[in-house]
């Protein structure tokens, strides 16, 4: 096979292209200002103060006001995290309430539309085992992406009442 002109010149054109390409080596990336538009990062209600997470908690906030104190926490567990009934009864136990059975569970929990059909809310009053004070607990359990998310607002009943709306509003963004 006899080489054509194009075949003879091809390697030379390649060489020339490479040498031009080498010129780009001097073009280091310059550090410059960048602008990004990103989805808004959720921020908690202003009355919540950032606190140190306790045990397996992922995040914790504390709220102090003239009418009492409360804490807000988020815990994420693998799978169903012990199941709805088990966790509802655990929370009830923290306030000294009798456990529910499977049959009465339905009446003890409510759905939360903003968090999807899987989300369940529990709102209970009792006496805290730890402080022996009147306490209210608003808890939300959501199963999502092979994980279960436990959101809990617990504290003085009057303060929990005042914070409940803000708590429920923040939950869809709090991940």
């Amino acid at each position: 096979m006899r080489p054509t002109n194009a075949m003879t010149n091809l390697p030379r054109i390649f060489c020339l292209g490479l040498l031009v390409g080498l010129g780009f080596l001097g073009c280091e990336k310059a550090e410059k200002i960048e602008v990004h538009t990103i989805p808004a990062e959720p921020s908690p209600p202003e009355s919540w103060g950032l606190d140190s997470p306790f045990g397996p908690e992922k995040a914790r906030f504390s709220i102090s006001a003239t009418n009492g104190m409360a804490t807000v926490s988020l815990t994420v567990l693998q799978g169903d995290g012990g199941g709805l009934l088990g966790n509802v009864n655990r929370w009830r136990g923290q306030l000294g309430l009798e456990p529910l059975d499977e049959a009465s569970l339905g009446s003890g929990v409510q759905s939360v539309n903003s968090l999807g059909s899987e989300a369940r809310l529990i709102d209970i009053n009792g006496t805290s085992n730890r402080t022996q004070l009147d306490t209210r607990l608003v808890g939300v359990i959501v199963s999502r992406n092979e994980l279960t998310w436990f959101y809990k607002l617990m504290g003085t009943p009057e303060l929990v009442e005042a914070e409940k709306a803000g708590f429920l509003k923040y939950l869809p963004d709090w991940r």
């Binding site: 096979m1 080489p3 075949m7 003879t8 390697p11 030379r12 390649f14 060489c15 490479l18 040498l19 390409g21 080498l22 780009f24 080596l25 073009c27 280091e28 990336k29 550090e31 410059k32 200002i33 960048e34 602008v35 990004h36 538009t37 990103i38 989805p39 808004a40 990062e41 992922k58 994420v76 567990l77 693998q78 992406n145 092979e146 994980l147 998310w149 991940r175």
Partner: protein, 584 residues
């Protein structure tokens, strides 16, 4: 024309094989010293200054030379942090220069010697493949970005974080989104007057910048003084112990010459007591008691009289050491008193307020239990001089922002060079809007707290943090697995299960050590797993590589492989034909 080119000295120089050998030799030298220099300079700086530069500077070369001397056990002068950070004059060709020249040499020689022949086509193709790999690597070097993302179960991220770079982020909420203006740290370091159309009239000016520093509260500033006093006290205590040790050794030697079982037993007990006291936090009273006991043993074993000058508690320098250690104790006490005195008494946190409190401190102390605190007053006077100097040196002078309200001082730290350490920059920023000064803010990489800047109706957020590279999708970590070989602590498998949420679909993906996730032009490799104190695996770290040039390596390898296959088959067929012909 070709003949004219062939006689051109520059062309001859670049086609020369001597140049190839010389450049390869220089490469060996660069690699050798560049590898050595990684110990004092850290991996990133050494790679930057030896391999990713056209020339090696004098300071980088000094680091390599110092390590070579250390290797042959010759004492050299270690590099100062300033020299490690700041390059010197160029003294030797760097990786980029040698690499570029090698490539030019290879290409020009190829051009010069090329003659079309089917017999050599495979070899030519192989060379083209090698050149493609070489050039591809150089482009990768320039274009590739490496970052990481660390997540705990349930964490959802739409960004990765740079290993080394930091950014000053100014964020403005707009509807359901945030506009993030990312200013590279280098602009803060260079104290550039920063303006940008997206900053809507805001100007950021760096008043002070520290590459690595620690913001401090007033209490922490006083604690810094306490720690220094503690170190000085410890040095004095160590000196006293060294004397005690020497004297005990002398007594032991004497007892070896003239054995005395009872004294031997007492001396052994004393030695044990000295060891025990040294291991614990030493009270000066017990140290003095220990010294007294050593003196008694000396009187007993060496037969010294109470007036004997050799006697341990007659030594003036020892008494001075104890007095000095006592003085440092007083200084610490004064520091704690001053901490209580300033607590809640610095409403504005200015230096003037601090100095006024300091000036007021000694007279207040003097009035307290008058006449009974002579030594303490002296200690307080010295303390106040020191703490005022420190405050002057470390005070930030910020006027706005919650971070600056809390941390009024900044302690500069030595830059971190180790690959596993990260510098924590701190800056004092003067911010103005359309020429009107808004105040000065403290920004620090040590805090994730976002501060506010109010400009009319707009509320900007400000934070200095590790640089974020935003992704066009979200990652949520749902599970992680850390498997070990049975009966050992050796990792067998790290695996992270993530949900990739794009704009239209979401899907679960398992990322393990040899199965990265490729998404949005980036590759996510399983990098590290972290456990909590109870041994539960709680955090995964993924290394993220963005390399727009990643195909070049595959193309280069393919060309090399095709060239080799062609060459092999060409010769094989030729050989087979010859055999066939011979057989016929």
């Amino acid at each position: 024309m070709m003949n004219a080119l062939k006689t051109n000295p520059v062309y001859q120089f670049f086609t020369s094989l001597r140049l190839t050998v010389t450049l390869l030799s220089i490469s060996l030298v660069i690699i050798f010293f560049g590898t050595l220099a990684q110990e004092p300079m850290g991996l990133n700086i050494a790679v930057e200054r030896y391999f990713k530069s056209f020339f090696i500077d004098a300071h980088a070369a000094e680091a390599g030379w110092f390590m070579l001397l250390k290797l042959v056990q010759v004492e050299g002068t270690p590099l100062t942090p300033e020299k490690i950070i700041n390059p010197g004059w160029p003294v030797f060709p760097g990786g980029y220069l040698v690499g570029s020249l090698l490539l030019i040499n290879l290409v020009v020689a190829y051009y010069h010697r090329f003659e079309w022949s089917a017999k050599k086509a495979g070899i030519y193709m192989t060379h083209v493949g090698i050149v493609t790999l070489l050039v591809g690597q150089l482009f990768t070097d320039i274009l590739q970005e490496e970052s990481f993302v660390h997540m705990e179960r349930g964490d959802r991220r739409n960004y990765t974080v740079s290993f080394d770079d930091n950014e000053l982020a100014l964020m403005l909420p707009a509807g359901g989104s945030n506009r993030v203006v990312s200013i590279p740290e280098i602009m803060l370091k260079d104290k550039t007057n920063i303006q940008h159309p997206d900053l809507a009239g805001l100007t950021v000016e760096t008043e002070k910048y520290w590459r690595n520093a620690r913001p401090m509260t007033v209490s922490q500033l006083i604690d810094l003084d306490r720690d220094e006093q503690q170190a000085l006290r410890q040095a004095k205590v160590d000196q006293v112990f060294a004397v005690i040790q020497t004297r005990i050794t002398a007594l032991e030697e004497r007892l070896q010459q003239s054995p005395h079982p009872e004294n031997r037993k007492a001396l052994t007990t004393l030695k044990g007591r000295a060891f025990q006291q040294r291991a614990e936090a030493v009270e000066l009273r017990s140290l003095a008691s220990l010294l007294g006991r050593v003196g008694e043993m000396e009187m007993e074993i060496l037969g010294l009289g109470e007036s004997d000058k050799q006697l341990i508690f007659n030594q003036k320098n020892l008494r001075e050491m104890l007095v000095a250690a006592r003085t440092f104790d007083d200084q610490r006490t004064v520091g704690e008193l001053f901490k209580s005195a300033v607590k809640g008494n610095l409403p504005q946190g200015t230096l003037d307020e601090f100095n006024a409190q300091a000036d007021h401190f000694v007279p207040t102390l003097r009035n307290y239990r008058e006449g009974e605190m002579g030594a303490m007053i002296q200690a307080a006077e010295k303390f106040i001089i020191r703490i005022k100097q420190r405050a002057q040196k470390f005070h930030t002078g910020t006027t706005e922002g919650r971070l600056g309200d809390y941390f009024r001082f900044v302690q500069p730290l030595a830059p971190a060079f180790d690959q596993n350490d990260r510098n924590q920059p701190v800056a004092v920023l003067k911010i103005s809007h359309k020429g009107e000064a808004l105040g000065t803010w403290l920004a620090s990489c040590t805090s994730e707290f976002q501060q506010s800047i109010s400009v009319g109706d707009q509320k900007w957020k400000l934070i200095l943090r590790p640089k974020r590279h935003y992704l066009g999708f979200h990652l949520t970590l749902v599970n992680l697995k850390w498997e070990k070989y049975r009966g050992t602590e050796i990792p067998k498998n790290f695996q992270s299960r993530v949900i990739v949420e794009g704009s239209s679909e979401s899907r679960p993906v398992d990322i393990s050590m040899n199965e990265p996730l490729r998404e949005g032009g980036q590759t996510f490799y399983q990098y590290q797993m972290n456990q909590n104190q109870l041994g539960a695996t709680v955090q995964t770290v993924l290394q993220v590589v963005k390399n727009p040039n990643w195909r070049t390596a595959y193309i280069g390898c393919l060309i090399v492989a095709l060239g080799l296959i062609y060459q092999f088959l060409f010769h094989l067929i030729g050989f087979a034909r010859k055999r066939k012909k011979a057989a016929a």
